[in-house]
């Protein structure tokens, strides 16, 4: 067996999952908790844009970036791009027409789901191809978004959504860890459990923003490690050795 760490996707690619996940999660929470704050929507869109911008910095042929739209039939990266094309106008529209917030949240949910499926489609990397990565990435984005939303609202609905999201993220992490154990994810995983879940829930009744930061930072760390350090290709393996000479 000869394994190798993929080095094509570095922190710039990870930034798309970290920032895009948090931004799209925030946009969903804005609709869920009916947060009528322009700065919340602006922050969500800025995070998604920054994430996509980071990926753009990584591609080899930057002037051809629009070619990313050519394969909606099978590529989750293309689908993510189309979701982003929906997300931005709907997000802006939600500032002026509150009813559009639900549509913007739907586009954000699609964007988040596409991100998770991007990893899932990488067949050579056990840490990514595990089906359990999909709920983990989606719920991490939701927990981070809910954490950010706590800076804009103290509503009970939002607090409940935050608590549910971090607990669901913890459960998704446990399930993922059992399916695709990875030594490099142990430290961020522990931080996610103790700081991002237990700590965040303990802080929730007293210091909302700090609880949000705990969920946000630990989720981001886990995704950064997942993309850049846990992405070890399974390598080559021989099911049979060559039989040489007399038997």
């Amino acid at each position: 067996m000869m394994r190798w760490l993929q080095r094509h996707w570095d922190a710039r690619a990870a930034a798309n999952f970290v920032l895009g996940g948090a931004g799209s999660g925030l946009l969903i929470c804005v609709a869920l908790a009916d947060i009528r704050d322009v700065s919340a929507v602006a922050l969500a869109l800025a995070l998604v844009a920054l994430g996509l911008g980071a990926v753009w910095l990584e591609i080899g042929r930057k002037l051809r970036a629009l070619h990313v739209l050519f394969n909606p039939f099978t590529s989750w990266m293309t689908r993510e791009s189309y979701a982003a094309l929906l997300l931005f106008p709907l997000g802006v529209a939600s500032i002026y027409v509150p009813a559009a917030a639900t549509l913007a949240a739907a586009a954000a949910a699609l964007f988040l789901y596409c991100q998770a499926r991007i990893l899932r489609a990488s067949k050579g990397i056990p840490a990514w191809r595990a089906p359990e990565v999909v709920p983990l990435v989606v719920l991490t984005g939701l927990a981070e978004g809910a954490g950010l939303a706590l800076f804009f609202s103290e509503s009970t609905v939002l607090q409940a959504a935050f608590a549910i999201a971090v607990v669901a993220r913890y459960l998704a992490w446990r399930r993922y860890r059992a399916a695709a154990p990875s030594a490099v994810l142990e430290a961020p995983g522990k931080a996610l459990v103790w700081v991002g879940t237990v700590g965040a829930l303990a802080l929730l009744p007293f210091m909302l923003p700090l609880a949000g930061v705990a969920a946000l930072v630990t989720g981001g760390w886990l995704k950064l490690a997942l993309v850049t350090r846990a992405s070890i290709n399974q390598g080559f393996a021989l099911p049979h050795l060559p039989v040489r000479g007399a038997r």
Partner: protein, 213 residues
């Protein structure tokens, strides 16, 4: 229907890397890029360790994950099974490189040469900068050979450079769908496996490991 495939006889491969060198020469790949290479695998636990030389590269899969993930449609599969990359469409996102289970794809972001300046055998090819590249089964040779009425896998002029160069006769190329082809016969006479078949990619590089029972 033609389906080009390669056969590597692991009993014969001696790990000389002549195929690696031939591929580099034929395709003028830059330093660090090896569309064809031979890995040296140690199998087992000390003291029961065995060693095998395994030629690897693009497997031209039946169901290539690189093609499915490619957002630009630069990666395609021809009717004859060869997986190609359109350098004019590729955006260099490297999604194919991370999706490929066989480490067959490469991307270089700047022109590099074995020495400071380009040797005559190292043409400056701007098209290959910042995009994904990989083994093409020497598709140009195959197409040109077929146009001349030659048979890939039999006539060297129509056969991939790595196969032509193999000193041990370990590498073979041909139409796996033709029961009378050279590689179909080899597969009938021997036991074989394909790398990580459990992933469902349907790789078209077959490894012979023993005679048929």
């Amino acid at each position: 229907m033609t389906r080009w495939a390669m056969v590597a006889d692991l009993r014969r491969c001696v790990g000389c890397q002549t195929c690696t060198a031939a591929c580099k020469q034929a395709n003028a790949t830059p330093p660090g890029v090896q569309w064809r290479r031979v890995i040296d695998l140690e199998v087992g636990e000390y003291p029961n360790v065995k060693r095998a030389f395994v030629p690897v590269g693009c497997m031209h899969c039946d169901d290539p994950p690189c093609m499915h993930v490619c957002p630009s449609t630069a990666t395609r599969k021809r009717a004859d099974g060869i997986v190609t990359v359109d350098y004019d469409l590729c955006i260099g996102c490297a999604y194919c490189a991370v999706a490929c289970p066989y480490q067959a794809r490469f991307k270089v972001d700047r022109q590099e040469f074995a020495f400071e300046t380009a040797m005559p055998s190292e043409p400056r090819d701007e098209k290959r900068i910042g995009v994904a590249t990989k083994c093409t089964f020497c598709v140009d040779r195959i197409d040109a050979g077929l146009a001349k009425g030659l048979k890939p896998g039999i006539d060297p002029e129509a056969t991939p450079a790595c196969v032509n160069s193999c000193i041990a006769g370990a590498l073979h190329f041909g139409d796996v769908d033709d029961p009378a082809s050279n590689i179909a016969e080899l597969l009938a006479e021997n036991q074989f496996f394909r790398m990580h078949e459990e992933l469902g990619t349907g790789p078209n590089l077959y490894y012979l490991w023993d005679k048929a029972p």
